[in-house]
C-alpha cells in the first residue's frame, strides 16, 4: 500500500497501547513516515512526555503552543494562526501537548467565560466538577482534538494516547457522558466527540504491542473493547520490539565445534549452547505470540524491529521509520477497516 494513502485513511490516528511498549516512539516513527511522504503532521502528546521530541533530536520541551520537530526554517503554526486558517506546511512535523486544564481554560474562553476561568482553575473546582461528571476531563481533551481535526491544520493528527487501561476510559468518556444525559454545552461537546470517534474516515486507532504474551493478551482485549464499547475503527496493529530471526542455529555447539575441528573446551561449548537455546526459545515464543495475535485479531500487522541502542534519536528513528514504511508497503492496497 502507498504510504501517503495509508497515512490519509483518517485525519486523526490515535496511537494506543499498554505502558512500556514504545507507543511514543511509534508515534514519532508514524509522524516521520507521513512527513517523508509529503504530508503535514501534528503530533498531540497527552501525557507531556518528551519522547517524541527526543526521537526527532530536539530537546525543547513540548508545550500547548506547539513546536516544530521536522522542517527547515518554517514557523510553528499556533492557535491564533490556525484560527485564521493557517496550516502546517507539507513534509513538516509539529508537536504540542493538550492537558485537560489547558483544554478547559480554552473552552471557557470560547464560551465567553474567560474572566472567571483562571479562578475556576485555581479554585480546584475542576476536580469537583469532574467528581460530578466523570470523564469530563477526557471529553474536553477529545473536544479540543475534534476542533483541531475540524480546523484542518494538518493532513494527519497523531495522538499519543494514555496507556491502555486509561485508553478505554479516555475514549469511552464521551459516550459515558452522553449516557449521563446532563444538560449544558458540555453535552454538545460530548456528542461531537462521539461523532468523531465513530467515523472511520475521520478517526482510527492504531494499537501498539510487543510480541510477548501479556502485552498481546492486553492488546486483544483492548481491541475488542474499543470496537464494542467505543465503536472506533481499528487500523493495523503495530508490533514493536520484534527480535530479528537468526537462522542456522540448528546444530548444537558441541556438534558444530567437533565438525569444525575446533577444541573449545567445556565452558565455551556450554556458553555457546546456552545462548543458542535461549535464542531458539525466545524466537519460538515470539513466533507463537505473533501467530496467536493474527489468529485472534484479524488485523494487518506492522512489525518493527527491536533496536539494541542506548537511546532513540534521529538515527534510530530513521531505522524504525524504514521498517514501518516497508511494512506499510507490503500491506494490500485497500485498507481493511473492520466495522
Amino acid at each position: 500500500m502507498d504510504i501517503s494513502a495509508f497515512c490519509s485513511q483518517s485525519r486523526v490516528l490515535i496511537v494506543a497501547g499498554k505502558g512500556g511498549v514504545g507507543k511514543t516512539t511509534m508515534v514519532a516513527a508514524l509522524a516521520h513516515m507521513a512527513a517523508r511522504a509529503g504530508l503535514s503532521v501534528l503530533v498531540v502528546e497527552l501525557e507531556g512526555r518528551p519522547g517524541v521530541s527526543t526521537a526527532f533530536g530536539s530537546d525543547v520541551p513540548l508545550e500547548y503552543a506547539g513546536s516544530l520537530l521536522k522542517a527547515a526554517g518554517a514557523e510553528p503554526i499556533g492557535e491564533a494562526d490556525a484560527r485564521r486558517g493557517a496550516t502546517i506546511a507539507p513534509g513538516t512535523v509539529q508537536a504540542r501537548t493538550i492537558t485537560p486544564d489547558d483544554a478547559l481554560l480554552e473552552y471557557l474562553g470560547d464560551h465567553g467565560l474567560r474572566r472567571v476561568s483562571k479562578r475556576l482553575m485555581s479554585s480546584g473546582i475542576v476536580d469537583l466538577v469532574a467528581g460530578a461528571i466523570p470523564g469530563i476531563r477526557d471529553v474536553l481533551v477529545l473536544g479540543k482534538i475534534k476542533q483541531i481535526e475540524r480546523g484542518r491544520i494538518a493532513d494527519l493528527v497523531l495522538v499519543d494516547a494514555p496507556a491502555t487501561g486509561h485508553t478505554m476510559t479516555f475514549l469511552s468518556s464521551a459516550g459515558g457522558l452522553l449516557d449521563a444525559a446532563r444538560g449544558g454545552p458540555i453535552r454538545a461537546q460530548a456528542a461531537d466527540v462521539v461523532e468523531l470517534l465513530s467515523d472511520p474516515s475521520r478517526c482510527q486507532v492504531a494499537l501498539v504491542t510487543l510480541p510477548e504474551e501479556m502485552p498481546v493478551n492486553e492488546l486483544i482485549e483492548a481491541a475488542y473493547q474499543l470496537e464494542d464499547k467505543v465503536g472506533i475503527a481499528l487500523g493495523p496493529v503495530i508490533i514493536n520490539g520484534c527480535y530479528p530471526y537468526r537462522d542456522g542455529l540448528a546444530t548444537t555447539a558441541a556438534d558444530a565445534a567437533s565438525s569444525a575441528g575446533v577444541n573449545l573446551g567445556p565452558d565455551l561449548v556450554a556458553a555457546l549452547e546456552a545462548a543458542r537455546r535461549f535464542r531458539l526459545t525466545r524466537q519460538e515464543l515470539q513466533a507463537d505470540q505473533l501467530s496467536r495475535l493474527a489468529r485472534e485479531l484479524p488485523l494487518p500487522q506492522l512489525r518493527v524491529p527491536f533496536l539494541f541502542t542506548a537511546s532513540i534519536g534521529p538515527v534510530e528513528l530513521d531505522q524504525l521509520t524504514d521498517a514501518l514504511a516497508a511494512g506499510v508497503q507490503a500491506l494490500p492496497d485497500r485498507a481493511e477497516v473492520r466495522s
Binding site: 444538560g183 546456552a274 545462548a275
Partner: protein, 382 residues
C-alpha cells in the same frame, strides 16, 4: 556478591518496601518476588498489588478485588499473603472510620461526587494504596509489607496524594459552597456566587446541588483525614521503609526512573535499591569471549560462526543496555543495582516467581542455566 546480601538484608530488615517505576517494567512481579523471598527467609510478608496482570494474580490465588489479604500456601518457613487493592472499598472504610455516625457515612457513600471520586480525583487511587499500606503496617501483624505503586501519569502521585485530598476537602471555595445552608446565600462572596453560576451554566445546575451535599456530608471529617495523611507521610519517611526503583533497560524507562529518583530526593526520600528488570542475558565473560576469538577466527565453519555471532550479539546488546542505565545507577548511588535477566518464559506462576526471587537475592550476573526457563528446549527456530 554484595547484591546477594542486599536483597536478603532488605527483606529481612525493613518493614515496608515500596516498589516504584513507570508502567510496563514488571513492578508487580518484582514486588511479589520480594514478598516471596521474605517468606522464604521466615518472615510474615504481605504484597499489596494494584491491578496486576491476571495470570500473576491467579498464580497468587487472587481472583477478585479484596480489602483483606489472602494467605498463599507454599513450601516456605514464613508466611506469604497477597492482596489486590480495592480503592473504593478502602475509601469507604476510611469514611466509616472518621464519620461521626453511620448516617453521616451513608450520606457520603450515596453522594454522586463521592462515588466517582476514586476514578476522577487524580491521586485518589494512590492515596488509597498508601492508606492500605498504613493500615497493614500498623495493624496487620506483618513483618514486611511490600506495595506496588499504581501506574500513574505522575510517578510521585502516591507521595502527594494524601495532601491533595486534604486540600480538596479544605478548599475555601467549597467551604463557601456550604454557606447557603448555614447562613443564607447573601453571606457568600460575590466572586463565589459568580463561580457557582458559571458551573451551573457549563455543567448543569444539579452539579452545584451535588457539590453542596458532598461538602455538607464531609463536614467535620477533614481533621481526621489530615491527621491520617500526616501519619502516612511519617511512615514513608521512617528508616524501616525502603524504596525500590524498578526500571527496564530501555531509554524511555530509564529517563522516567531518573526523573523519579530526582523527585524522591526532593522529598528527602532516597532510593534504597535499583532493580533493572529484563536485561539481556550474558552467556560469557570477557575472558571467555577473548578465548573464543582466539580459537574461532571466522570462516572456519558456518554453523560454528553462527553460534559465536549469536553469543556475541547478546554480549553487545547487554553492553548497550548497561550504557543506557549507567547514569541512572550513578544517580541513585550508593543504592545497589540488581539486574534481573529476561527469562525464557513469561512470569505467571509461583515457580517463575521463585526464579525471579532467586535472581533478586542471588545478585548480579545471571547464570545461563537459571535464565534458561522451564519452557526451554530447542525445536528448530520458527
Amino acid at each position: 556478591m554484595t547484591t546477594a546480601t542486599t536483597t536478603d538484608m532488605m527483606v529481612l530488615d525493613r518493614s515496608i518496601i515500596i516498589c516504584c517505576g513507570s508502567g510496563g517494567v514488571g513492578k508487580t512481579t518484582i514486588a511479589a518476588a520480594f514478598a516471596l523471598q521474605a517468606a522464604r527467609l521466615g518472615r510474615t510478608a504481605c504484597v499489596v498489588t494494584i491491578d496486576p496482570a491476571r495470570r500473576l494474580a491467579n498464580s497468587l490465588g487472587l481472583d477478585a478485588l479484596s480489602n483483606r489479604p489472602t494467605r498463599i500456601e507454599g513450601p516456605w518457613p514464613g508466611e506469604l499473603h497477597a492482596m489486590m487493592l480495592d480503592p473504593k472499598g478502602t475509601f469507604d472504610d476510611l469514611v466509616a472510620r472518621y464519620s461521626d455516625s453511620p448516617e453521616q457515612a451513608e450520606d457520603i457513600k450515596v453522594n454522586r461526587i463521592y462515588r466517582n471520586l476514586t476514578g476522577t480525583l487524580s491521586g485518589t487511587q494512590e492515596y488509597m494504596a498508601m492508606e492500605k499500606l498504613y493500615e497493614l503496617a500498623e495493624e496487620g501483624g506483618f513483618d514486611l509489607v511490600v506495595v506496588d505503586t499504581p501506574p500513574s501519569r505522575n510517578a510521585l502521585d502516591f507521595l502527594d496524594a494524601p495532601r491533595r485530598l486534604t486540600r480538596f476537602l479544605e478548599n475555601r471555595l467549597f467551604q463557601a459552597l456550604m454557606m447557603p445552608t448555614r447562613a443564607g446565600l447573601r453571606i457568600m462572596g460575590m466572586a463565589a456566587q459568580a463561580l457557582l453560576r458559571t458551573i451551573s451554566k457549563v455543567a448543569g445546575a444539579d452539579i452545584v446541588a451535588d457539590a453542596v451535599a458532598f461538602f455538607q456530608a464531609f463536614e467535620g471529617m477533614e481533621e481526621g483525614f489530615r491527621a491520617r495523611a500526616a501519619r502516612v507521610r511519617e511512615l514513608l519517611a521512617q528508616a524501616e521503609t525502603a524504596f525500590v526503583l524498578v526500571a527496564s533497560p530501555r531509554p524511555d524507562s530509564v529517563d522516567e526512573a531518573v526523573h523519579f529518583a530526582g523527585k524522591l530526593a526532593e522529598s528527602n526520600l532516597f532510593v534504597t535499591a535499583l532493580v533493572v528488570n529484563r536485561v539481556q542475558p550474558r552467556f560469557a565473560d570477557d575472558s571467555q569471549l577473548a578465548a573464543l576469538a582466539a580459537r574461532v577466527d571466522g570462516g572456519t565453519d558456518r554453523d560454528l560462526d553462527e553460534l559465536v555471532e549469536n553469543l556475541r550479539g547478546y554480549t553487545a546488546a547487554s553492553d548497550r543496555e548497561e550504557q543506557a542505565y549507567t547514569d541512572l545507577a550513578s544517580k541513585v548511588a550508593p543504592a545497589p543495582v540488581t539486574r534481573v535477566p529476561l527469562l525464557n518464559t513469561d512470569v505467571h506462576d509461583l515457580d517463575n516467581l521463585a526464579t525471579i526471587a532467586d535472581l533478586l537475592s542471588g545478585g548480579a550476573g545471571p547464570a545461563p542455566e537459571s535464565s534458561d526457563g522451564p519452557s526451554g528446549g530447542p525445536s528448530g527456530g520458527r
